[in-house]
């Protein structure tokens, strides 16, 4: 794996981006004539509302946690998928196929349960 090249290009892009930002700052200049209204965060003409105490639907957390779980299950399919043909040619095809079928059945039951329990509904 060309780790050196990847690290190099990450550094290059970071430096490139910082230079661009400083260039834009140097040419465009920093905000000089400031007023209270200008430096406020954006709001449609009414006094600013800060982000603190923002109530966010619990659905966002739920989505993130369920994503982690399903993502892990999907990741387990990757090494299985990449070696599936080799398993078949080695004579272990049926065994591996059935073992993944059981895993997938658990996966599908989980997904079906989540959908049925309305955990994934956003309408309310």
């Amino acid at each position: 794996m060309p780790l050196g090249g990847i690290i190099f290009i990450i550094f290059f892009i970071a430096v490139f981006g910082v230079i661009l930002i400083y260039l834009a700052r140097a040419i465009g200049g920093v905000a000089k004539r400031t007023s209270e209204a200008k430096m406020e965060i954006y709001e449609c003409g009414i006094p600013e509302m800060e982000k603190k105490d923002t109530k966010i639907s619990v659905n966002f957390y739920l989505t993130a946690i369920l994503f982690i779980l399903f993502d892990i299950e999907i990741i387990f399919m990757y090494p299985w998928a990449v070696n599936f043909r080799e398993f078949i040619s080695a004579g272990a095809g049926t065994y591996v196929f059935i073992s993944m079928a059981i895993f997938l059945a658990i996966f599908i039951y989980g997904l079906w349960w989540e959908i049925k329990s309305k955990a994934l509904d956003w309408e309310n």
Binding site: K52, A64, F76, W80, V82, G110
Partner: protein
């Protein structure tokens, strides 16, 4: 110094530096972002050990999923109160000292283990032979991984599926419970 050694030292410094900033930063958001950096560094270290698939999994699961949840949750709270609560007080002082103690113990343990040159895996065992063969080939070890996972330890693999199902159901059940700060309204 060979190129691999340079890479190893560079990545070690990145990981340790990022790991230290997780505990030293007073702003929880910075801590979480440093933890992301640590995870990326660990993934790169996996890649230096030829564990490419593991590196990819580290990237997808830890930086792409787990840390997103951490950062999302942290960003939704008013952090000023937490900043004060965790930067002073006797209880946090105790935790700090205890944390330093545990860290020091771990460091001593790691140094003694690595300098003794004795591997935890017994010489001549099949696992040691496997590892030696794989290290000699330097090839991708996804095949060994999937062989272990899907042929040798199939029960553990299926139980893991059940465990993930239990977690998924538990999460939904917890999010339904009334009261507390996370009640659905």
């Amino acid at each position: 110094m060979s190129m691999d050694a340079v890479l190893f030292w560079f990545l070690s410094i990145v990981v340790i530096g990022a790991g230290l900033s997780v505990v030293l930063m007073s702003n929880p958001i910075y801590s979480a972002l440093s933890l992301v950096m640590t995870m990326v560094g660990v993934a790169a270290l996996f890649a230096t050990l030829n564990a490419y698939f593991l590196a990819g999994v580290q990237l997808i699961v830890y930086t792409g999923a787990v840390m997103v949840l951490f950062v999302m949750v942290l960003m939704l709270f008013d952090l000023k109160r937490e900043l004060q609560a965790f930067s002073r007080g006797k209880i946090t002082g105790f935790f700090k000292i205890a944390g330093v103690g545990v860290l020091a113990g771990l460091l001593v343990g790691v140094i003694t283990f690595t300098t003794q040159k004795t591997s935890l895996i017994a010489e001549g065992s099949p696992l040691a032979a496997d590892i030696a063969a794989q290290a000699a080939s330097g090839a991708d070890n996804t095949k060994i991984l999937s062989e272990n996972l899907f042929l040798k330890n199939i029960l553990g693999f299926e139980l893991l599926g059940v465990l993930l199902l239990v977690i998924a159901i538990g999460v939904v059940a917890l999010s339904r419970s009334k009261g507390g700060t996370h009640a659905r309204d």
